[in-house]
Amino acid sequence: MNKVLAISLNTFKESVRDKVLLSLSALGLFLIAISKIVVPISIGQANKIIKDLGLGLVELFSLLIIILIGTRILYQEIERKTIYSIVSKPVKDWEFVFGKSLGLYILIILIQLILFLIFIIFNKFYLGKIDWYLLNALYFFIFEFLFLNAIAVFFSCFTTPITAGILTLLVFFMGQLTHYLKDLVVLLKLPELNAIANFLYFVLPNFSVFNVKASVVYHIPISINSYFLAASYSILYSIILLSLSSMFYSIKEYL
């Protein structure tokens, strides 16, 4: 476990120095800060629009960081040949993959916390009060990005960063549409496809589990089951994906 932590800490330090991260974070902060420009054109709905914009930007920039940095972390090690200094030590493949993934995840959490803090401060500044209910969204973001992080690392194990980035983005988009699979079978009137649709519905990532932004903005109570489902779904799926990543990484190493 110490090895995983050591690798993750190193990955974290390495990623923090990345210029892409700095520019993305700066852009995120800038956009949250200038959300006040929407106030005069919001037709009395500044409160809602600033909250929507803030939550949307935190999610969007976290997604961009995952795509631009997360998909490169394994590739860079191989490209720069720094991986040799690790594989020459008694580090197991899964320890390396889990460590890398954890390092990136810590980075994402940190960035999200900073963006969220700025968002909350601007909320207080623009709207005059802090809406603590918004913190619920942060809880769901944390698990959503644990999952996305695992997906990015999974793809980066066997493809180039660009392909991994595109695939991660596609999975994110597809994951928002998974719930349409069941509707599709009904719409197409093809009951024979029901079993396949059901299988895909349960197997493919479903990101709607983490989408509570509307509930948070409108103060609609979120059931305790949703909190539990988001956490368990994300953790279990991530462990499966990272285990598969370790497997692919091992195969790649020996090829």
Binding site: Q45, I49, L53, G56, Q176, K213, A214, Y218
Partner: protein
């Protein structure tokens, strides 16, 4: 340095091209929002950012309304915009209420207004605002006082409904087309509205009532009243309205807001 000057020259020409070029390309009627897809489609491709996209459509609705209000006063896509917006964010109550009033007051399509409000009530059965606006429209636009009273009453039965909803339900039933009810409706509408556009509508609505009453005064008495006080003294007005710090004054045969 040379590169920098070159870039500045390019930016200068680009800005001129944009300023002049856009004036050369006229927007033909009906083409303006042809690209605007359905709400279901946007929902499918929005990737969980439905609310954020709905906010941009809300702003677009304001821009669309403002542009046409200042030009041809025709709004062929206004219902479509609000329909898409409410498909994306079904809890966005102002989209139903403001949309309903604009469709009724500016587009003169009470049927579309009712369609939007009914959709809102279906998606937000606990809201008191939507049935209240329905009652408001029935009272002030379709002049169906029984329907108006019914919707005010339904609104008053909702949780968190303010007392005024019940007051309007009873006033409408008791006084029907009474001028006092209409004036109070506009005053309350002003205070519950958060947007400047709706507040402006409330003030104009009130001014219109005052002007119509002044006209009635002239028809009956043969001369135009000199002030609102004169109208109150002759029972043509129940009271002189005041909204916030705004005063309504009758001067030179016109209603002036001070």
């Amino acid at each position: 340095m040379k590169r920098l000057i070159f870039i500045f020259i390019l930016i200068f020409f680009l800005s001129i091209t944009i300023r002049i070029g856009f004036k050369w390309i006229p927007v033909r009627e009906g083409e303006e929002l042809l690209f605007f897809p359905s709400g279901k489609f946007i929902h499918a491709i929005s990737s969980g950012f439905d609310n954020l996209i709905a906010d941009f459509i809300w702003i677009e609705a304001g821009v669309y309304f403002g542009e046409h209000r200042l030009s041809d006063r025709k709004y062929p896509y206004l219902y479509h915009i609000f329909n898409v917006l409410t498909d994306l964010d079904s809890k966005f109550l102002p989209a139903y209420t403001i949309g309903g009033i604009l469709l009724c007051d500016d587009v003169k399509r009470v049927d579309l207004s009712m369609k939007l409000l009914n959709k809102g009530m279906f998606k937000n059965p606990d809201s008191w605002e939507i049935p209240f606006v329905k009652g408001f429209i029935h009272y002030l636009y379709t002049k169906d006082y029984i329907e108006a009273s019914k919707w005010f009453l339904i609104s008053s039965m909702k949780e968190n409904a303010p007392d005024m909803t019940y007051k309007f339900a009873t006033w409408t039933l008791l006084h029907g087309q009474g001028i006092e009810v209409a004036m109070n409706l506009w005053i309350n509408f002003y205070y519950i509205s958060k947007s400047d556009l709706m507040k402006e509508k409330a003030i104009k609505g009130m001014a219109k009532i005052l002007y119509n009453q002044a006209d009635r005064f002239k028809e009956e008495k043969g001369y135009f009243p000199s002030s609102l006080e004169e109208m109150v003294n002759n029972n043509f007005l129940p009271f002189i309205p005041r909204i916030d710090s705004l005063r309504f004054v009758l001067r030179e045969k016109q209603i002036i807001i001070e």
